[in-house]
Symmetry: C2
């Protein structure tokens, strides 16, 4: 944090081998773009380096390799989403709306996660996996809300979490339907798609008043 | 169709350059496995050829290239799904259950489609695109059911289609939650996950009795 801010799009090589936050941040920004576009197997460290205006060697000095870089980004992204959308067990429709807004504004973030689901599937989730820790915490929050009478107890909390996440991602996850909605829906706006998502969650898991 | 059935796992090269249905079918089966595992960019025609017990040249003789092979498989798969799961506008919970069963039994088919969504996004859907044609037909069926009073008219039919598809894929689409359900759900069985999906669709879009 002691280094000055990025001084602009200069191509000059940076001297300090111990790097600085700006190089590291530029690498992460470039990697987000590269992974969102090409996935993990398809991403190329030399393209990331070029986009970050640094060298391949510097990328490897900051991150062990492409997979470690992806894992770092995905973990950070999950924490950012959790913080930005904040699950509220007593207002799941509101939470679904925030998830919808987050990914509508950031399709590349949705793609980053979707690639990992495909490319890393079967790599064996464990409880100390940060994704599993986030899920376990949310399931716990939902269960507590059920016990406190602030959320319907008719569903298993794991099913609630899975359904709310999934419904919130209805449009982000089915790009082939977006074209169809634009053409066939009576109201083709994003606001109408958002309203349907929020209404669906409200019908299943109503806000506690 | 005039050639005899595949005579078993012989590695002998086939003589006829105009091929036969069995070579073509073996290529398609091998390609399904290869694409499901590695995606389109990651798939390798030489691996497909080896798995299909034929040559790279024969693969190219049957299909123009890797992308054409993927497009053929994806289009065929969509038709097979539509046929196997048959959308019934007056019984959308039943349809969701069939989709759930189809993809639970065939995770590789779900992966085949998921790769295409990521890798081919933005390649410009048009109305003569077979996916768009299938979607348009389903939206039409839903609209007719609404007009006949066999389906709630409170939703845009495009939203209904998007939500039902998405809810049916709740577990196939979120592998990171499957581990959590196995550990945290009161009833960890697949039947319990299926019941939640069907109940959710029934709550939103009830069967007409």
């Amino acid at each position: 944090m002691s280094r000055p801010l990025d001084s602009g799009p200069t191509a000059a090589p940076e001297p300090a081998p111990d790097g600085g936050d700006t190089t590291r941040e530029r690498i992460l920004t470039a990697a987000m773009e590269e992974f969102a576009r090409h996935g993990i197997a398809g991403a190329r460290v030399d393209r990331i380096a070029k986009l970050a205006r640094t060298s391949k060697e510097r990328v490897y000095a900051h991150f062990r390799g492409k997979e470690a870089l992806y894992a770092h980004l995905a973990e950070r992204e999950l924490a950012v989403i959790a913080e930005a959308t904040r699950m509220t067990p007593a207002d799941l429709p509101g939470y679904a709306g925030r998830l919808f807004d987050y990914f509508t504004a950031r399709p590349d973030h949705q793609r980053l996660i979707a690639w990992g689901r495909l490319e890393l599937s079967g790599s064996g989730a464990t409880d100390d996996d940060p994704t599993q820790a986030i899920i376990a915490r949310k399931v716990d929050q939902l269960r507590q809300a059920q016990q406190a009478g602030r959320l319907t107890a008719a569903w298993d909390p794991v099913d609630i979490l899975a359904l709310v996440n999934q419904i919130a991602m209805t449009w982000a996850g089915q790009p082939e339907l977006t074209a169809s909605a634009a053409e066939h829906a009576a109201d083709p706006t994003t606001a109408a798609r958002r309203a349907a998502v929020v209404t669906a969650v409200q019908s299943l898991f109503p806000r506690s008043s």
